[in-house]
Amino acid sequence: MSETLPSDAATAGHGGSGEELIRVDSLVKHFPVRGGGLISRTVAQVQAVDGVSLTIGRGQTIGLVGETGCGKSTLARCIAGLIPVTSGTVTFEGTDITNLSRRRMQPYRREIQMIFQDPYGSLNPRRRVGAIIGDPFAVHKTASGAERKRAVQELMERVGLNPEHYNRYPAEFSGGQRQRIGVARALALRPKLIICDEPVSALDVSIQAQVLNLLADLQQDYGLSYLFIAHDLEVVRHVSDSVVVMYLGRVAEAGPRDPVYDAPRHPYTNALLSAAPAADPDAAARRQRIILSGDVPSPINPPGGCRFHPRCPKAQDLCGQQVPPLEVKAGDPAAHVTACHFPVQAGEVLASSGSTGGQTR
């Protein structure tokens, strides 16, 4: 059930020292589905994350890509310690921080922060911006009074907000500015890792670029590591050193950015890349789109074997029977791993899959 990544997979990248900051091993998260009736009992499990391993190096950005229901947000919340883990471990700088109590997790909260997707929903509408950004200081009792105010205003300045707007409410800011507030809050305790859960998906393109530039600057200045979750492949390509592609709770393919984008081995990665809209009419016309049939199956009852097999244009009998191991395929660099029995070869043209399986109800 669990697939282990070679220890250095997904760490070798362009930036960063390569020194391991956080390590996730065979992480599993199942949500119980409770039946109705007076006494609710568990009738099924949503297998949101099913054996995912990855490591993030200091100063690195790992892009986590996948479609709705692939478990990428759940994985992020497990790493941030927001929801308990079913099995597997999360190790931060050599310390196991899996399922710590709130009190014992507290020191690690300062090191791992989150930026959320929804710039409207992630800021408390009834609290002033100064209080929101100052929250980390208040919770961790690191600064108070005038000192806290000064620290908050410095942060506001750093992320490109007017520090004089300290007393305003979130509703008085535009979407991009609110996302900056979220960035300032995440930055307050000088964390080592920031988990960005679709940080720019809700923003207009012109504003999105502003926020992406800000995140890049902060990484450079503070040596931050990012776990960057997005469904926009171009955005992930832009920010990431390494990429992890998830499908239905498992890693389909992972590795340094360029090999994965330039020579994807997993049919799902190929389909995903071919489906991504490109703002280039000629490229769009040239491109051979791989149209997958049907939808992502339900994670309550995922298909056996390779979870992608009902929609895969290359599927054979073996795929439905055996879980493909996540391993380096012939000719790939050591960090580029793929979980596929029949990986895509260079120059191979994938037909649209004709099967009608995988429809969900």
Partner: protein, 364 residues
């Protein structure tokens, strides 16, 4: 004559805080079998524009003309408009859940849709047609799925069902308002493919409203770029992407993380879109425009031809030849700016250059 000819459409909404001028004089044509992409960011007025054509923007003060096959849609009574809607013009929304009734079976809704416009069709014939339509949009086992409720469909399936409903009365124009925004990339690809197929087959005209330039690059023939309720630029797809004239269009294209520049700095547009209640004087884009000139502060430019064929039109005071992203176009822009920028405009340009990343100053 085009199928739909919209001229000088204006829509404004009175609110307690002032008049929201959502659409400020937009004109465009759509021909049979063609696709017009309307691109703009939130608040650009792109949705209000098309909702107004269908009488779906209540409370708005509307002026202008929208001739659909010889009738002015804006002059129709609500009951007349209702007949046109669905039968002649169909709409596909971003979130199918808001337009599919949750408590009725999908098939029933299609049957009602057909029969509400043509009572002579028997219930049985209509039901047969519903199955055909679901099959046509690629829903497997349509005979079983017609008796499903919308919540039993996945997001992509619902959007397919919406398209089936839109096709039910063989409309001549389909307006799709961000139809794939809520969908994943692979499902989006399915739906776009389906729309293109259907259009090719039935020669329907299509208006595709989106914020995603990638979708436009895929599906559109002509593109209308909207900013603050007006058309910033209008051209064939290739001109928009390869020879943009308006700095806003150029800025949008440059903001997209593009594979060739992976890891490099992005070039975002400074600042944020204006409030539609307090619009800046002159060109609405000037407070964010790196090419701001003196007259941009006071005079609002109208769409004018910038290309040889007259099809490429841009609402910008920059010289006609300043189209494109190449070095020579940039040189023309630079020269124009140097000659036509003094005091106030120079101050704005300096502020933009000084704070290229920050949008914090725009509101204060």
């Amino acid at each position: 004559m085009s199928l739909l000819e919209v001229s000088d459409l204006r829509v404004s909404f009175p609110t307690a805080d002032g008049v929201v001028r959502a659409v400020r004089g937009v004109s465009f044509n759509v021909d049979t079998g063609r696709t017009l992409g309307i691109v703009g960011e939130s608040g650009s007025g792109k949705t209000v524009l098309t909702q107004t054509l269908l009488g779906l923007a209540p409370g708005g003060q509307v002026s202008g003309r929208a001739m659909f096959d010889g009738t002015d849609l804006l002059a129709l009574r609500p009951d007349q408009l209702r007949k046109v809607r669905g039968a002649e013009i169909a709409v596909i929304f971003q979130d199918p859940l808001t337009s599919l009734h949750p408590l009725y079976k999908v098939g029933w809704q299609i049957v009602e849709m057909i029969r509400s416009h043509d009572k002579s069709v028997s219930r049985k014939q209509a039901a047969e047609r519903a199955v055909e339509l679901l099959a046509r949009v690629g829903i497997p086992q349509p005979r079983q799925r017609v008796s499903d409720y919308p919540h039993q469909f996945s997001g992509g399936m619902r959007q397919r069902a919406m398209i089936a409903m839109a096709l039910a009365l063989t409309p001549r124009l389909i307006i799709a308002d961000e139809p794939t925004t809520a969908l994943d990339a692979t499902v989006q690809a399915q739906i776009l493919e389906l729309l293109m197929d259907l259009q090719q087959e039935s020669r329907t005209a299509l208006i595709m409203i989106t914020h995603d330039l990638g979708v436009v690059a895929d599906i559109a023939d002509e593109v209308l770029v909207m900013y603050a309720g007006r058309a910033a630029e209008k051209a064939g797809k290739h001109d928009i992407f390869y020879a943009p004239h308006h700095p806003y269009t150029k800025g949008l294209l440059e903001s997209i993380p593009n594979s060739s520049a992976a890891g490099d700095r992005l070039r975002p547009i400074t600042g944020q879109p204006p409030s539609l209640i307090n619009l800046p004087p002159g060109c609405a884009f000037h407070p964010r425009c790196a090419y701001v000139m003196d007259r941009c502060l006071t005079e609002e430019p109208a769409l004018a031809a910038v290309g040889a064929d007259g099809e490429h039109r841009s609402a910008c005071w920059l010289p006609v030849a300043a189209a494109g992203t190449a070095g020579d176009a940039e040189a023309i822009r630079r020269r124009a700016v140097e000659q036509n920028r003094h005091e106030a405009a120079a101050r704005i340009a300096a502020a933009i250059a000084a704070a290229p990343e920050s949008e914090g100053s725009a509101i204060a």
